[in-house]
């Protein structure tokens, strides 16, 4: 069964652009289906207040927020328990990839605003943040890619839509560092036997390959220009 004209192991239409916010050191916009997020990186820069400074590395700070008109029912502005948790989870997903030890006492601030939500916002957020960090010229071991997967009507599905999120047996967002395939985020809502869970994780990790390609293309277009045919 196809949803939105795509197969169960395909990503929703994916759009990634780098360098979309001129004021930021690095930035990106990511759309996965109807989910659209912006990420801006400011830093490394001086960290205030002083007592948070770490003598041997940079503080990696991430704020994930949903703009009030991003959801079908208007979301109240300001942080919520959910957005606080997601901010933390995203920070933890990105940290293993960033060489924070090169900037003692500094902070790297990542701001992620969801302007349209249709499920998978934390994955889109990680994809955008990762491009924004690279765009800012921040040293990283690798990019980080993320996508969610689930199981609907006995079939494993990649990159769930908002509609699918309501009927899926489980919602499993996964983030990986693509070169090493090391996983930096796993969360799960639902209840499934272990075999299923492993298969779903595998589907998500494989799904990240296309995301990586789009991330690289976005950075290349931004810094080198449109990829020429003769290259």
């Amino acid at each position: 069964m196809k949803k939105e004209g795509k197969n169960s192991d395909e990503l929703r239409p994916l759009v990634i652009k780098a360098g979309v916010i001129p004021n930021a050191n690095g930035s990106a916009m990511v759309s996965m289906g109807k989910t659209t997020v912006y990420a801006a990186v400011y830093g490394p820069r001086k960290l205030h207040p002083k007592h948070l400074q770490m003598y041997d590395k940079a503080y990696l700070y991430c704020r994930y927020t949903m703009v009030p008109f991003s959801t079908k029912e208007r979301a109240r502005p300001g942080p919520s328990r959910r957005s606080t948790e997601i901010s933390k989870v995203i920070t933890d997903a990105l940290k293993p990839a960033v060489f924070v030890n090169e900037f003692p006492k500094a902070t790297i601030d990542i701001f992620i605003d969801v302007v349209q939500a249709d499920s998978g916002t934390r994955c889109a957020a990680i994809n955008a943040a990762s491009v924004a960090l690279a765009d800012a010229g921040i040293p990283m071991k690798d990019l980080v890619c993320a996508v969610s997967a689930g199981k609907i009507d006995g079939k494993y599905w990649l990159d769930l839509t908002g509609e699918q999120e309501e009927t899926t047996d489980c919602d499993l967002p996964v983030a990986v560092m693509p070169k090493s395939k090391k996983i930096t985020l796993i969360q799960m809502d639902g209840s499934l036997p272990e075999k299923d869970v492993k298969e779903i994780i595998k589907l998500a990790v494989d799904g990240c390959e296309k995301i990586y390609k789009a991330q690289k293309k976005a950075l290349e277009e931004r810094w080198i220009g449109a990829i020429r045919e003769d290259k």
Binding site: I21, K34, A40, H48, S70, E73, D113, V115
Partner: protein, 271 residues
């Protein structure tokens, strides 16, 4: 205007030098980017970029970028206007958009921005609020306008006001099931929001003795006064807001009015 760091200057602003340069250029009738004093930067508009929103607009003025979303819902009217819809305007100066914007509860700048835009829409009668009545005294439509800044390169007021009015004129009601008193969020009917006018904000900035429009961030910082003039289709002025630390003469005000209303008519064509 002082945008100086509260607890953490991040960028090297060199504001004094820049302000002097801009001031000196202005006295020679020039701007740093070669524009005329009354020229706006390139304006780009996108209608309804956000599907989940009942109406939305993206406006770019030069590098300034603003996203506005309109959300409609049914609620109780205010006791003193039982048959009128309710307008609520909010703004967020997202830290995404500038090193100057910090996280946290809305600061005075974002509250002022929201209230100026609100004033323009409300006082001009742009929305026919009587037509937003569902059941007098019990149920009316509430119009929530949320302004979200994506990149700050000056003149947020005009960009936000323009995006707001465009979003309103592009907004459609979601389905409302009266029997169940339930709004089906995210759905769209064919019914448009009952609009009457297109109020447009033009903020005139002053540095030295010269007035200019649509400043970039450096010009905005170099200016000492601003006067926002919101006018509607019949050129009536429906809202004013002065900002900045220097005073204006009556002569200044008259010059500003004619400059602003004329420009507003031009911008209105974009709505």
């Amino acid at each position: 205007m002082d945008r100086r760091h509260k607890g953490g200057q991040i960028e090297c602003g060199v504001m004094n030098l820049k302000s002097n340069y801009i001031f000196n250029l202005a006295s020679k009738n020039q701007r740093t980017d070669g524009r005329e004093f009354s020229d706006f930067r390139k304006i780009e508009i996108e209608e309804n970029p956000i599907e989940n929103s009942d109406g939305s607009a993206r406006v770019r003025m030069g590098k300034t970028e603003v996203l506005v979303g309109v959300k409609l819902d049914v609620g109780e009217p205010f006791p003193d206007s039982k048959d009128e819809g309710i307008l609520i305007v909010s703004a967020e100066l997202s830290p995404l958009a500038s090193a100057e914007f910090e996280e946290g509860p809305p600061r005075e700048e974002s509250i002022e921005l929201a209230r100026i835009v609100d004033r323009g829409i409300r006082e001009s009668g742009a929305i026919d609020v009587k037509k937003l009545c569902v059941k007098e005294g019990e149920k009316v439509w509430m119009v929530n306008i949320d302004i979200h800044i994506i990149n700050h390169d000056g003149n947020l007021i005009d960009a936000a006001a323009l995006a707001s009015i465009i979003a309103l004129w592009n907004a459609k009601f979601p389905k409302y099931i009266e029997k169940e008193d339930r709004t089906e969020y995210g759905t769209k009917t064919d019914k448009e929001l009952p609009m009457k006018y297109k109020p447009v904000a033009v903020t005139v900035y002053k540095t030295g003795k010269d007035f200019f429009l649509d400043p970039n961030i450096d010009e905005e910082e170099a200016s000492t006064i601003r006067l926002t003039v919101i006018s509607r289709d019949d050129d009536d002025i429906c809202a004013l807001q002065k900002g900045g630390t220097e005073p204006l003469t009556m002569e200044d005000v008259e010059k500003i009015f004619s400059l602003a209303v004329k420009k507003a008519a031009e911008l209105r064509k974009l709505v």
